[in-house]
């Protein structure tokens, strides 16, 4: 449960970053699209990791906040014409506000009931945008602009630049969440997860801590949503189906739940694998389904555990 020593963690983060940048250098046009998708998925999964891995709050409606971020971006930037940077900030704020509203009710529930209420809220948001006319309903809406990076001499319309931007955003989210997890706040979340009654008995306002985690996770998911909307310049209700929530949840569990790096790695593997499989066979979902089941059954520490084992071996060899 406790994070590994910061030295090995930071080294692992650098390795991951180096792999991402290495892939960025060698990959073609489509590879950069996939890299951006990986970074966005990693952000989404890391935000859910804060809830699931730290606070023990299993949400099956996390895609709703992802979608709210994307639609917020579309609304502020494409409909109202705000500068993309401002629109992103506003969309993240809306995501946080929505999470606050939902969280006020949801964090009072535990276990399966928390899973169910997040599912219900997620489906409500999905139903709303399915019906909504301002954003094109089922058909969705296009024309979402990308960040204006001309101030630093870059053009975000270039997929290479956008992929870098997404990776940078993922890195930033990792650093911030990593600090949050290590802070007293993160310690309290873990204490609540391990023994809620005892933590409450010690005088800790458990509900408020859970709510705060829910809001942060919602805001970060919304940030991922703003990037997803920019990536394809497009939003549709498909961004917030409950099956996406389920898939991200599996990514988190396979990644080891509490480990941000493990979760990010799992996100990368998941996106890459799906992409490869879907080019190979129309029945790729069968393979993914079997993989889901097997991985969840055998995932003890998940990828995180495997990475730590690898690190220990590397460290030992270096010590020789």
């Amino acid at each position: 449960m406790n994070p590994p020593a910061s030295g090995s963690r930071h080294a692992a983060a650098l390795v991951l970053l180096a792999v991402a940048l290495g892939y960025w250098l060698v990959s073609g046009y489509y590879g950069k699209e996939i890299l951006a998708e990986i970074a966005i998925t990693a952000i989404l999964a890391m935000s859910l990791s804060l809830l699931v891995g730290q606070a023990g709050l299993v949400s099956l409606g996390h895609a709703a906040f992802f979608g709210i971020g994307a639609y917020g971006m579309a609304g502020f930037a494409a409909k109202l014409g705000w500068p993309p940077a401002l629109a992103m900030a506003a969309a993240v704020a809306v995501g946080a506000a929505a999470a606050l509203l939902v969280g006020l009710v949801a964090v009072r529930l535990a276990g399966v009931f928390f899973i169910m209420i997040t599912l219900a809220v997620g489906e409500m948001v999905h139903a709303w945008f399915l019906k909504d006319r301002a954003f094109g309903g089922v058909g969705g809406m296009s024309g979402v602009p990308r960040l204006d990076l001309s101030a630093v001499g870059l053009d975000a319309a270039d997929p290479a630049v956008f992929a870098l931007l997404a990776v940078a955003a993922a890195l930033l989210v990792y650093v911030l969440l990593d600090r949050l997890v290590l802070s007293p706040f993160g310690q309290t979340l873990r204490a609540i997860h391990q023994n809620e009654e005892r933590t409450r008995a010690l005088g800790c306002p458990v509900g408020r801590y859970k709510l705060a985690a829910f809001v942060v996770a919602g805001a970060v998911a919304a940030l991922a949503g703003t990037l997803a909307a920019q990536r394809s310049a497009f939003v549709s209700p498909e961004l917030m189906t409950w099956t996406l929530s389920g898939e991200i949840l599996i990514v988190v569990i396979v990644g080891g739940g509490a480990s941000l790096l493990g979760v990010a790695t799992a996100a990368a593997l998941w996106v890459a694998l799906r992409d490869q499989l879907s080019s190979l066979t129309d029945h790729w979902m069968l393979a993914m389904g079997i993989l889901f089941v097997v991985l969840v059954l055998v995932a003890g520490d998940g990828i995180d555990g495997a990475l730590r084992g690898l690190w220990r071996r590397v460290a030992r060899q270096r010590g020789r």
């Binding site: 489509y30 699209e33 998708e37 399915l130 094109g136 058909g139 394809s232 497009f234 498909e238 129309d282």
Partner: protein
């Protein structure tokens, strides 16, 4: 990435027979929902029928091979867009064909427009795509929603249907098709007695909506549904005894060959308007249906026919361009220049809108022996959309 075995085989055989050509093959990228969502059957129907059409040409045009390269969208707009980019920039396809659903189209449209790659739409019908939003790079061989129903409004008024109830899902396509029918119908003297728009998505029952329509006492219902909801409507229309009081009509997908097996005899007696019916009597369609049925043991649907015609039109355009694909604008020009006899009759692409100009058929389903079949009631020739805000014509 999957290429067709048949394509490869045919191409190899021809390469052996004909003097070896040093030219690279022409590649057509298919972006369709092969793996997930409600349109898998449609995606396969389109692809299979395109393959049928290209087999007839030996996968060759002007001395160059033709290859179909397919990518799966998983019924997700962002995946559709990413796969389109992959096809264009990595696989170097010369043009794109896709998608089925309108959300995927919205995502593909912008990419094709910006990348200046010809995109040929084999199914989605959003009016705006060949109307106010039109692009010089996006062509449509299927239909616009308005094109399907516009003349049906006049036709029904002329046939003595005075009072009509409208019924469609509450979303863009539903409103486009109902609106497209309503205007000419009312102008021709008809009255719309009620309009019902159930929420899009999971509909378990038409009961409530049919109850309201019954209260309005129309002569007919004009509707737009496809897939399982269409089956549900056709069945429930009969179950609730509405068939004794009024006629069920609509955009012809209601009783598509894909739906007939699940609709059973309840499908008899429906009047539909569409750009294709299996019963169309022309040599191209007869040969298409014969070959399709021999191979797949079922009747080819309008989706298949659209796929077949799309491949034929593209082939004709490639021949017109002399097999040259580097000049993408020239390719589009060739698409505008050719005219083919398709399964639906004569077809061409209108340079003013990039939408297809085609015949629209009014048909009725009836019992033919033990099974439900189609009878063509009327044929409206050369149906061409007005520019609708599209400025391609200058």
């Amino acid at each position: 990435m999957k290429r067709f075995q048949a394509a490869a085989l045919a191409a190899t055989l021809l390469a052996v027979a004909a003097p070896a050509s040093a030219q690279a093959p022409i590649r057509i990228g298919l972006v369709l929902p092969y793996s997930a969502g409600p349109f898998v059957a449609i995606a396969n129907e389109i692809t299979d029928s395109m393959a049928l059409a290209l087999e007839e040409t030996g996968y060759m045009v002007a001395g160059r091979k033709i290859e179909l390269v397919r990518e799966d969208t998983a019924h997700k707009p962002d995946v559709a867009q990413a796969k389109a980019k992959k096809l264009v920039f990595e696989d170097k396809v010369d043009m794109l064909v896709g998608p089925v659903a309108s959300a995927e189209l919205t995502a593909l449209f912008d990419f094709a427009h910006q990348a200046k790659v010809p995109l040929v739409i084999p199914n989605a019908g959003d009016n705006e795509v060949t109307g106010e939003k039109c692009s010089p790079w996006v062509l449509r061989t299927s239909f616009s929603n308005d094109q399907i129903v516009r003349d049906m409004g006049r036709w029904m008024a002329a046939k003595g249907f005075k009072k009509v109830a409208l019924l469609a899902f509450d979303y863009k396509a539903g409103h486009q098709l109902m609106g497209g029918f309503k205007k000419p119908f009312v102008e021709a003297g008809g009255t719309i007695v009620t309009e019902q728009y159930p929420p899009f998505g999971r509909l378990s029952d038409f009961g409530p909506w049919l109850g309201r329509i019954r209260d309005a006492k129309p002569d007919a219902i004009f509707s737009f549904f496809a897939g399982p909801p269409a089956t549900l409507l056709v069945q429930q229309f009969q179950e609730f005894g509405l068939d004794r009081e009024m006629k069920l009509t609509g955009a012809g997908w209601l009783v598509s060959p894909l739906n007939l097996p699940s609709q059973g005899k309840a499908a008899a007696g429906v009047i539909g308007a569409l750009n294709y019916v299996p019963a169309i009597d022309n040599p191209v369609n007869k040969s298409y249906q014969e070959r399709f049925q021999a191979k797949f043991k079922r009747v080819g649907s309008e989706f298949g026919a659209q796929g077949y015609d799309t491949a034929k039109l593209i082939h004709a355009a490639l021949a017109q361009a002399g097999g040259k694909t580097d000049d993408k604008a020239g390719l589009v020009k060739a698409m505008h220049a050719v005219k083919i006899e398709g399964t639906r009759g004569p077809l061409r692409i209108d340079p003013k809108t990039n939408n297809v100009v085609q015949d629209i058929y009014v048909f009725e389903t009836e019992m033919q022996g033990d099974a439900v079949g189609y009878k063509v009631l009327d044929r409206i020739r050369d149906v061409q959309d007005p520019p609708n805000g599209c400025t391609l014509g200058g």
